[in-house]
Symmetry: C2
Subunit: 382 residues, 2 copies
């Protein structure tokens, strides 16, 4: 099931509520990425504590490991990974695209060698739907071809982008048929493609809307294009999708990208940036970003952000003031596992909490003021 209520709007920005088989998701929302059935370095209990409402899984990875048979035995991904709230799974299209030259795309699907053991594999729209049926994902993504911005220096032409977008459309129809045949009670989302071409994006929107899917994603952004191009697509497409259905911008991005996305009418986001950057000592805060490895943090007894309420900044130390920058710097220098663990908690909390603040601003009819404050704060420096 999927029910989407549009609670409030402010120009293109929307405050909504999504009801899925495993629970309710308040939007706009950021969804932590749990590729292999785990959000890297974070306990599910920490995800619940920070207020994560829905997390991602990756069909491609989970197909390879642990494989469909194990997941079937658990009745899906929720019980396997210890997460009872909603899950969205990517279809495998983007991951297959990431394999680069080692995959072979045809009308039927994509042939490739398993990066785990070299097995020859064939992923098709039908297979993707079958795997996601087993995963019991609350939101199932259509299998698509992600149109690259450029390939080995060759920028994708409009003609190539059109062919790719049309292939994704034909695959969307096959996904819909298979999803129905499998009697999957969860929600199938279509993915708008069309590269950097607005007319193609519009054609993709029109054809997908005709399929009357319960939600739509915008794919093929943040795939190597200049930031300005990404911005123009994000500004162009979301508000052209049906107002009464949820809109999901895939794989984006920085905190600024998320706030811009909300302003453009996006409801849902995912990105590996908070966890990947955390593992590299890059921390996001209300007042800008910081590199914990920097020597200036060595003796800093203050938290990453005095306004942050995460387990790292507030929830752990005996006096309630949380772990210091000096301690996080020390863990990083010593290569201690607790460093990435605390950094991942902080960064994910920052993203999840940013969307909570956005929702509160929308509820209060103060989104414009929020955006201005957000930009000022982020530019202040940390």
């Amino acid at each position: 099931m999927l029910k989407f209520e549009l609670l409030k709007t402010d120009d293109h920005a929307r405050r909504g509520r999504l009801t899925l088989n495993h629970g309710v998701v308040e939007t706009p929302v950021f969804m932590p990425v749990g590729t292999y059935g785990t959000v890297k370095g974070v306990l599910p209990s920490s995800l619940r504590t920070m207020g994560a409402q829905i997390i991602l899984g990756n069909t491609f990875h989970l197909w390879l490991r642990p494989g469909v048979e194990v997941l079937r035995q658990f009745g899906g991904l929720h019980r396997f990974e210890g997460w009872s709230q909603p899950i969205l799974t990517d279809s495998g299209g983007f991951q297959v695209w990431s394999l680069g030259e080692t995959r072979k795309i045809s009308e039927e699907g994509v042939k490739f060698a398993s990066p785990v053991n070299g097995d020859k594999l064939f992923l098709t729209p039908e297979v993707s739907m079958q795997i996601q049926r087993v995963l019991d994902s609350d939101i199932v993504m259509q299998f698509d071809e992600c149109t690259p911005y450029e390939t080995q220096g060759h920028v994708t032409t409009e003609r190539e982008a059109r062919a790719s977008m049309e292939l994704s459309l034909r695959w969307a129809r096959r996904c819909l048929d298979e999803h129905a045949r499998l009697e999957n009670p969860n929600a199938l989302f279509g993915i708008v493609q069309g590269g950097m071409f607005e007319t193609l994006r519009e054609a993709s929107v029109e054809a997908l809307v005709a399929l009357d899917l319960p939600g739509y994603a915008i794919g093929g952004v943040s795939v190597g294009e200049p930031k300005e191009l990404m911005r123009s697509i994000v500004a162009h497409t979301p508000h052209r999708l049906p107002a009464h259905k949820p809109r999901y911008l895939m794989g984006v991005g920085t905190p600024e990208d998320l706030v811009e996305g909300v302003a453009a009418g996006v409801d849902m986001f995912d990105c590996v940036m908070p966890t990947r950057n955390a593992r590299n000592g890059h921390l996001f805060t209300r007042f800008g970003d910081l590199k914990i490895r920097n020597a200036r943090h060595k003796t800093d007894a203050g938290p990453l952000d005095p306004t942050c309420t995460c387990q790292t900044c507030r929830g752990a130390a005996p006096d309630g003031t949380g772990f210091s920058r000096a301690y996080l710097h020390h863990l990083d220098r010593c290569g201690e596992m607790l460093g990435p663990m605390l950094a991942s908690i902080h960064n994910l909390h920052y993203y999840v909490n940013l969307m909570r603040e956005v929702r509160e601003a929308l509820d209060a009819g103060a989104f414009g003021a929020f955006v201005q404050r957000f930009r000022e704060d982020r530019a202040r420096g940390v």
Copy 2:
């Protein structure tokens, strides 16, 4: 301060209560090891949840990183690492010994090159006391020389072991003087040495007891000797120490070693085994040990141990049954950080809980029956 109450005894086994500056510790107790100011891969909140009462830090490591100045700024190790309960710190003696041929021992102390940056360092009994004063450890260990069982194939002779033990005794007196001079309000423990020679162990006990220290440790076991020799020392020494003072067996060992140690009159244990083995996929359970990498766990939906109440076995999954062996196997295969995190929680909980069960058995006057049941369970296989 240190107050030790002996609540109950059963032959050599003892049930006690240790009151330290940062709290009360029920004994017998297992103390998780937090070398660099972090128990590897475990959040302090998870340590509290599992019932850890006191954790270790390492003077040697913390001296190198983050260094005394940073720790002084935090008023010690507790606030720096977010742990408000008691802390015991090792003196650096064992770590300096581990450096092998690169260190030079004299009457004055030990000269060595920093393994971090090559700096020439000089650790003496006085310096160790000064660092531990800054750390504000509830239990301060004397600086000692750990007598090796063998060095490059040469088994330590009685003459060599005696010289080493007597050096440690002279260092104990210097530690006591410096500890007093520093007006350290925490408790200084002496360390019994003497290698594998019972007469030397007895001489060490006698001389240390004459110093009237608030507690005593047994060092220089589990340093490469055959298991039978270790057992004979563990059976020999603890009950020769004063009954009204706590006894700590350093760096030991397997679950069986701990239960044997309690039977021999030991009150306190520490060991890196639960965390180190966890990172290698070696898991301890009531019914024996298991290697999570083994293919037989791939489809096993059951927990590591159905009687275990840790966050891994019970506390995380939506239906309250906890993470499965299949999931832990999957995390291990994928090299996901959550694997060692959940394994470390489980193993530490197993050790901490084993000592809780020992205390309950002693309280109930049923330690003998407990030991028999423990051995049967562990032999059952998992």
